[in-house]
């Protein structure tokens, strides 16, 4: 790809003044970003019910600066994919992700979004990380609201540790023009290899 990592070294004595400024600016900007993440809910299944519970008064997602659900990807920072994604939805979630402006993050909520879950069949995507880059995976089937909130707090920690001078972070990834995939096809095949009891379900017709 030819990405050059920005040389950031806080111990370096040269440029120490600008570096300190950078740290201060980072902290301010990251604090602002981490505490006002606007989620784009992409709820397709039962995880969306838990997501709604998380947003409602008992668990109150507004405490984390997320009281505004952004139902338009253009005003969203965070894509929360709650539920299984069938292949028919794959181009749609890809398009929503591409419509979101940088900086943006993604949470894959639940077993189905993270790995296909129990739906190891012809219709369901085996993990949305084969379509879009994912920052935090929340396990559970479905995860309790506490689980989602823990995932969001992990993401906030991640946001707080980002550096503006690192230009690899907020770069828009371009999918491979031919296959339209972010990761190589053989890696996808390996990731979605069946496991456990289900290996008996062979790909050949019985």
């Amino acid at each position: 790809m030819g990405i050059t990592h920005a040389s950031y070294n806080p111990e370096s004595h040269e440029n120490w003044f600008t570096t300190r400024l950078d740290v201060v600016a980072n902290n301010v900007v990251n604090w602002g970003r981490a505490n006002s993440l606007w989620p784009m809910p992409f709820g397709t299944a039962c995880c969306a019910i838990e997501f709604m519970a998380t947003a409602a008064s008992r668990f109150d997602l507004a405490r984390f600066g997320m009281e505004r659900m952004s139902f338009s990807p253009r005003q969203a920072d965070l894509l929360i994919c709650a539920g299984r994604v069938p292949f028919k939805l794959a181009p749609i979630i890809r398009r929503i992700w591409q419509q979101m402006p940088q900086p943006k993050w993604a949470i894959s909520m639940g077993a189905c979004a993270s790995s296909g879950g129990m739906f190891d069949n012809y219709a369901v995507v085996q993990g949305i990380d084969t379509i879009i880059p994912v920052d935090v995976y929340v396990p559970g089937c479905p995860p309790r609201p506490e689980g989602l909130i823990y995932g969001i707090m992990m993401l906030q920690k991640k946001v707080m540790n980002e550096r503006m001078s690192d230009n690899t972070l907020r770069r828009e990834m371009a999918p491979d023009p031919e296959s339209k995939l972010y990761i190589p096809p053989d890696a996808i095949d390996e990731l979605s290899e069946p496991f456990g009891n289900s290996v008996h379900q062979t790909r050949q017709a019985p």
Binding site: K88, Y122, V125, P185, S192, Q201, P206
Partner: protein, 233 residues
Amino acid sequence: MSDFAFYQPGSALPSEGAEPRTPYRIPHRGGVANPSAAAIQQRVPGTGYRVEVVWGETTVYIPADKVLDVCRFLHDDPSQRYEYLCDVTAVEYRDASRPIEVVWHIRSLAHRRFLRLKVELTKGTELKVPSVWSVWRGADWLERECYDMFGIKFEGHPDLRRILMWEGYKEGFPLRKDFPLRGRFSRSEQLKQALAANPEARYSMDELTIADAYGDVPDEMRKRLAGGEKVGE
């Protein structure tokens, strides 16, 4: 009851034990048949009718070429009035010798009757039955779904194309027994094809024609169309 052999569901190892067989000695077979079953054979004469009653529900096996006549009679005749088509679906048994069955569930609200019609289609031949869209308009999507999942062609359907899987889905018909659970292609290939699909390319010619003519229609109709109403049939 001893014929009620139990096979592990989902065990797809072909070498395991005997050839799987669907249990055929079903309990609670027999009883009073729905009077419509006799009426069908009287009004639409022909050979190949068979009537079965299981758990008090009547199934009438009808020849494929009589489907439209039978359905028209059941729908229109004042003594029948089957005005509600509950479902159109198909069954493929794992036994290689058994035919694929297309099933219609119909209900007469006026006479409080339920009837199941079945047509048997031999495996290996072209799977086609007449569409009942001209009798019940509700058959439209049900038949599309049945075509999508089983590949059964409903002749006379106005717009027979896939409904659950996307346009141009290349792997076949998912609910057929020869379709592997994970599909025929590798995961990356499936994903590649899915991502190449245009999510907006799902409109019928009818809908596209309406969109083209949107500027020409009268104001009042344009208002109705903008509200989400489809025009005409």
